[in-house]
Symmetry: C2
Subunit: 177 residues, 2 copies
Amino acid sequence: MSLYFITGSKDKLSEMKAILGDVEQLEMDLPELQDLDAQKVIEAKLKEALKHKTGTFIVEDTSLYLTALKGLPGPLIKWFMKTIGNEGLYKIAVSFENKEAEAKTIIGYTDGGETQFFEGSFRGSIVEPRGDKGFGWDPIFQPEGHSKTFAEMDATEKNLFSMRKVAAEKLRQHLAK
Amino acid sequence: MSLYFITGSKDKLSEMKAILGDVEQLEMDLPELQDLDAQKVIEAKLKEALKHKTGTFIVEDTSLYLTALKGLPGPLIKWFMKTIGNEGLYKIAVSFENKEAEAKTIIGYTDGGETQFFEGSFRGSIVEPRGDKGFGWDPIFQPEGHSKTFAEMDATEKNLFSMRKVAAEKLRQHLAK
C-alpha cells in the first residue's frame, strides 16, 4: 500500500523520500484547523484526507514555539509571518526579555486507525534577522550552541538541524518494526 | 423558515434576539478554520452547517485587531488570550509604540446561497488591564474618546459600544427589505 505525504512542497517531499524511501506526494487542499496544538491540526487534516481516499498518509507541521509567548506562534506561525514578519517577532521576543524558542516538526501518520505522531525539534533562540538563505523564520532562529541562524547556513550545515529528518527517522523506525 | 444562530453563548443569543426577534439557538460544534480573515472563518462554519441542516443561519465573530500587528490577533484572539493573556497583549502593544486597535463583530448570514456579511466596530486603544467586568480582552480595550475600558463599564454603558448590536441592526434592515 502506498504511503502518501500530503504536502505542496517538493523540498519537503525530497527530504521525506531520502529517509522513508517510497513516498508519494499527494496535493490536497485541506482546511487548516485553528488550534495551538499542532497534533490536532494534523489529525484534522488526516481525517479529512481519509474521507476522500484510502491509504496510509502522513502530514507534517513545522512550527516555531516561543517560551515567552507560552507556545505562540506554534502552528499559527504563518499568520505572524504574513503580518508582523521576522522583525515583528524579534521585537516581541526582545520586549519579553526571553528569547528562548523551539523549532519543531511533528509528523502525523495514519493507516486509517489511530494517528501516531513523531517529533523532531531543536532548541535555540530568537535573534535579530540575519542571513538570506532558507525561508520563513529561518533568519531569526539560531540553534543552541551555534553562531549562525538557519538563514546563514548552507544546505549541508542546515541539514544537521533538520527537525523533519529527525521526525522522519522516528517514523521510519516505527514502520520497520 | 427559522433563523438559526450558531453559538454556544446564551448572552450573544439574547443580544441577537433583542434586535432580530425570532432567532433560535443552534449548538453545533463546528471546526474553526485557521485564517486571519474572519469572513473566511465564518463562511467555513456556515458551509459546514449547511451540510447537516437546511435553513437560514447566522454565525458571528468578534475579534480584536491591533494596528501595529497588522490585523493580529483578529480571529486568532482566543489563542493569544489562552497563552499570553491581556498582560501579554498589552506588553506587545507597548513595545510596538502604537496602541490603536479595533473591536469588530462580523455576522455572516446565509439562506443556502451566498453568504452576506454585516459589520459593527469601534476604534479604541490597548491600555494596561483595568476593570473586572466583562470577559476576554475587555480589560485592555478602551474605546476612542472614553476613559473606561470595557471591563470598567456596567451593562448599560457597555451596551452603547456593542459591536454585535450594530452588526445585528444592519442584518435586521437587510432582512426587512
